[in-house]
């Protein structure tokens, strides 16, 4: 049973058993939730509950406010575990003591098996939160896993309890001191009144500089590209960027391209997706989505791209990720002819006009490619790299056979996008390859060439 915190009595305790009263609201993934700490005495989860109960799937839990509770102040002894040593939920004890505590003081917490329990009372409603683990992220928020929240109706508090709460009799010396410390750091009322009065005049916001991008209603994919190509939505010249660009096109996620560099990326590597400008810039929805989260993002936004369900999928993926990638790295960066004809204009001269800086970036690129190749083997054997790539193309060609898409699926999958990332760039005459060994190896596989044509026509307008 899902309840709004309208104050209506959902059910009276203890007329029914716990299971039947619970209204579980499971949250699938890890979401940041600000949960009060034991040391934050007297906090309530009113803020936490609102969004949870309203929209459990929205991931809106980041915006939780913790407000100081007017009703009562807890001390840490109230946070002792319920049910010693875990195991089954200890109902008698829960009924007897924890509930009393919760009803008297507002909230309490405990351990339920391997999960953690947390109770809070909001007027006549008792809220129970169960979560399996929690971690702090950098912003000081708590990341809670497997959160489920249930609500119960509570018997009205007795008159004597109310009186106690109102007069603060239940406060012990420690909590009183804590309140004093809080009072010291809080802003005195007259100053607060002054602060509220300023600024006396607020004008509309300043305009943004010329280079600031115009806010867009669709997400932006940051890729390696030229400004003109990005505006036209043409394929990126980087295999990994092109893979995800193709993936988004296949998934039908409308997006715009932004020509960028690795410096702009939160992970240090392109591509990444910047969701459309939203009203609040701090909500998790407006944070950049790195490429490894793009599949999730696309699913969250309703699009479906099938992941090939084939046992040998991993093996075929490694063909691309190792054999073809290594040959690609070699042919692009370490073949001097190709480096000066292809890599240099795309990756180096587009970044700066200064010859010294260009030389430095070239050097960095070449040594990074070398280091990457030397990760897997102690020497760079050129013939071996090319023959491995040739074998990989052969294997891919056999895998594709006469099907339109890989793994016999009806619609292209992420794997098709991955293959396209390389085949498009190797077969595109606009790239201007000088040393064409790898291109020739690919051209021999007619069905792979056709596969590339198919994707290009269908998702890139020819």
């Amino acid at each position: 049973m899902r309840g709004e915190l309208s104050g209506s009595i959902l059910e009276h305790y203890p007329e029914k058993s716990e299971e039947s009263q619970e209204s579980e609201v499971p949250c699938r993934s890890v979401r940041p939730v600000r949960v009060p700490q034991p040391s934050e005495t007297g906090m309530c989860i009113r803020g936490l509950l609102g969004p949870v109960l309203r929209s459990p799937y929205d991931g809106d839990l980041g915006k939780v406010h913790v407000r100081t509770r007017r009703m009562a102040v807890n001390d840490t002894s109230m946070w002792s575990p319920i049910g010693k040593g875990g195991g089954k939920p200890n109902f008698p004890l829960w009924r007897g003591r924890a509930l009393q505590r919760a009803s008297r003081t507002g909230n309490t917490s405990g351990i339920l098996g391997r999960r953690l329990l947390w109770y809070s009372r909001q007027g006549n409603i008792l809220v129970k939160a169960i979560y399996s683990s929690r971690q702090y992220n950098r912003q000081g928020n708590i990341i809670v896993k497997d959160l489920s929240v249930s609500t119960f109706a509570m018997p009205p508090t007795t008159a004597s309890d109310k009186a106690k709460e109102e007069h603060g009799v239940s406060q012990n010396p420690i909590s009183r001191r804590a309140t004093k410390v809080q009072n010291f750091f809080s802003i005195p009322a007259p100053v607060k009144a002054l602060f509220d009065r300023v600024p006396v005049l607020v004008y509309p916001p300043n305009e943004l500089p010329q280079r600031a991008p115009k806010p867009s209603r669709i997400p932006s994919l940051y890729v390696f590209s030229s400004i003109a190509d990005a505006a036209a939505g043409k394929p990126s010249f980087n295999p990994s960027c092109l893979k995800w660009q193709a993936f988004l096109n296949i998934a039908g996620v409308n997006h715009r391209l932004v020509a960028s560099s690795n410096h702009a990326s939160p992970t240090g590597v392109l591509p990444f997706l910047l969701p459309a400008a939203s009203t609040s810039s701090t909500s998790p929805e407006s944070l950049p989505v790195p490429s490894n989260k793009l599949v999730e993002y696309v699913e969250d936004h309703g699009a479906q791209v099938e992941e090939p369900a084939n046992l040998r999928y991993e093996a075929y993926r490694s063909l691309l990720d190792y054999r073809i990638r290594n040959a690609w790295l070699y042919t692009l960066y370490l073949e001097p002819l190709n480096f000066s004809a292809v890599a240099y204009p795309l990756y180096v001269s587009s970044t700066t006009t200064n010859p010294l800086v260009r030389a430095s970036i070239s050097h960095q690129l070449i040594s990074a490619a070398e280091a990457e190749l030397l990760k897997n083997s102690s020497i760079i054997d050129i013939d071996d790299l090319y023959s491995e790539a040739d074998k990989a193309f052969e294997a891919l060609s056999i895998l594709l056979g006469d099907d339109p898409w890989f793994f016999g699926s009806d619609e292209p999958t992420l794997y098709d996008a991955s293959v396209f990332g390389y085949t498009q760039l190797l077969l595109d005459d606009g790239m201007g390859w000088e040393e064409k060994k790898l291109c020739r190896a690919l051209r021999r596989r007619t069905n792979l060439v056709q596969h590339r044509e198919r994707l290009l026509v269908r998702y890139f307008g020819g």
Binding site: I187, V191, L194, F195, V198, P199, V200, L201, V202, Y203, P204, P205, N206, E207, L208, P209, Q210, R211, A212, P213, P215, S220, Y222, V258, S260, S261, H263, A264, S265, P266, L274, A277, S281, T282, S286, L287, P288, T351, T352, T353, N354, L356, V357, S360, I361
Partner: protein
């Protein structure tokens, strides 16, 4: 009859339990005696020189004693012109002394000798056949400073703390050339390495040429990124007779906007990456204030002009950048107090402009990037706002503006019980500023700039006022202020309440 042993004991006792007051009095007496002697010697010399001031003399030789590492050619330029052999008319004694004094003063300013250059005058022996009766010889006694000085320490700069190591190598080629290397790491400047080679031109301490190299990485939390710099520069400094200083120089820098924060705005993301800046700049400073951090009277005027990327300069960015900075202080007499009251009024004004230019010999002007635009706001300029709190904002980021103007008025008065001779003052201040991005309308850069400048007066500027305490430490000025923003733009980040500022250059 007191025994000698007894008197010895008394002496011992008196030495052991020396009365501190008596000791102090003794010391003072000794000091006074010494001063008196010095003064008398000085007076005698003065009288002697005075009575002989019109005595015609010729300087036949100048000897610098104790300058082993210093080059002869370097010293020649300094002393040759004042030797009588190189002059057409003779000196009077006072003239000669003045000329030598000027030369020694220059020598002192090269900072290669210990302080206290001593000068002696001697008459050459008349038996030397080449000597004339008017000849005098001048001896200057100096001791050279150690060639290498290394030091480490901690620094408190404009809203940041850092630790540094510094190495200074003096008089490298015997011509007062210095090389200094500075490495620091701090809270905001992640790391910075700077090497500067500096040499005087033609043995003139007022004309120096310096070559520097810089490598640094600085966090810019107000715009969610980190800026990495690698640069070299050549600068020529000179001072005019009026006491103003000029610097003209070339700077080449490779800049990287990198290490972006998770919630960096699209504007910062767009500007992320490499850019090379190649510029010629000129700085002019006229500083007539009586104290750099807590002036009671005087004025300061400074202009910085920079041209980047235009014509043969190339690089990746092109603009003209101008900045002016003025500050004037005046002491306010209080009726009823005869001496200086310690109350003073200081006002400051700053303004700046980035004018986009075409890159190289092209024709389309380049819009400015985040690392070339101005930032405004913070405890050292417009108080009552956060660092970079004024101006255009994209989400959480202060992305800077192309045109700014800011002014302040501070009334400083002494803390009543402590008095006006301490470097501590109360202040009441009001400051205002406006930081604008160039309008994005039309193609004509000039029109854009004019209309943006006109926009500065569009509505009242963002304004804050407050009171605070100022402490002028010899190395920096500290301020603790309570301020309130009165007028602001939506999105600008003000700071209500207490704000602490440390710096050497306050508005």
């Amino acid at each position: 009859m007191p025994s000698p042993g007894g008197s010895g004991d008394d002496l011992f006792e008196s030495l052991r339990n020396a009365d501190p007051k008596k000791l102090e009095a003794q010391e003072r007496a000794a000091r006074e005696r010494e001063q008196e002697q010095n003064a008398r010697a000085h007076a005698q010399l003065k009288e002697l020189v005075g009575s002989n001031s019109t005595l015609p003399v010729t300087i036949s030789s100048i000897r610098l004693i104790g300058a082993e590492k210093t080059r002869r050619s370097f010293l020649d330029r300094l002393f040759d012109p004042i030797l009588s052999a190189n002059r057409d008319r003779p000196y009077t004694l006072s003239e000669a002394l003045q000329e030598v004094g000027t030369a020694t003063d220059k020598l002192r300013r090269f900072d290669i000798f210990h302080n206290g250059l001593a000068m002696f005058i001697d008459k050459p022996s008349p038996t030397i056949p080449s000597s004339t009766p008017t000849d005098i010889d001048i001896y200057i006694k100096a001791s050279e400073r150690g060639p290498v000085v290394a030091k480490t320490g901690t620094d408190l700069g404009n809203v940041e703390g850092s630790a540094y190591g510094n190495l200074l190598w003096r008089n490298i080629f015997g011509g007062a050339e210095t090389f200094s290397f500075n490495a620091s790491a701090g809270t905001r400047t992640r790391s910075a390495y700077q090497g500067v080679f500096e040499m005087p031109i033609l043995s003139d301490p007022d004309k120096t040429l310096s070559i520097d190299a810089l490598r640094s990485s600085t966090l810019k939390p107000w715009a969610n990124h980190e800026e990495a710099l690698n640069g070299v520069g050549v600068k020529y400094n000179w001072a005019t007779k009026g006491g103003t200083r000029h610097q003209i120089g070339y700077t080449g820098q490779r800049r990287q906007v990198t290490g972006l924060g998770q919630n960096a705005s699209p504007t910062v993301r767009n500007d992320a990456g490499e850019s090379v800046k190649s510029s010629i700049s000129h700085t002019w400073v006229a500083d007539q204030r009586d104290h750099p951090f807590l002036p009671q009277s005087g004025y300061m005027f400074k202009t910085i002009s920079e041209i980047t990327g235009w014509g043969p300069l190339r690089g990746d960015v092109a603009f003209w950048k101008s900045e002016v900075e003025t500050s004037a202080s005046t002491a306010i007499p209080i009726p009823g107090i005869k001496d200086a009251s310690g109350v003073s009024f200081t006002s400051g004004f700053r303004a700046g402009l980035v004018y986009p230019l075409p890159l190289g010999f092209g024709s389309s002007a380049q819009p400015s990037r985040i690392n070339d635009r101005f930032q405004l706001g913070g405890p050292t300029d417009v108080r009552g706002f956060k660092m970079g709190g004024l101006g255009p904002r994209d989400g959480p980021d202060a992305i800077g503006g192309d045109i700014f103007a800011a002014g302040s008025a501070n009334l400083l008065f002494p803390v009543p019980t402590i008095g006006k001779d301490t470097p501590l003052r109360f202040q009441v201040f009001g400051n205002a500023g406006r930081l604008l991005a160039l309008k994005d309308k039309g193609d004509n850069t000039q029109k854009k700039v004019y209309s943006t400048i006109a926009q500065l007066a569009d509505g009242a500027p963002s304004l804050s006022a407050g009171v605070g305490l100022v402490y002028a430490h010899p190395v920096a000025r500290f301020e603790l202020n309570f301020s309130l923003p009165l007028i602001m733009r939506k999105g600008e980040e003000a700071r209500k309440g207490l704000q602490f500022g440390v710096g050497i250059n306050f508005l």
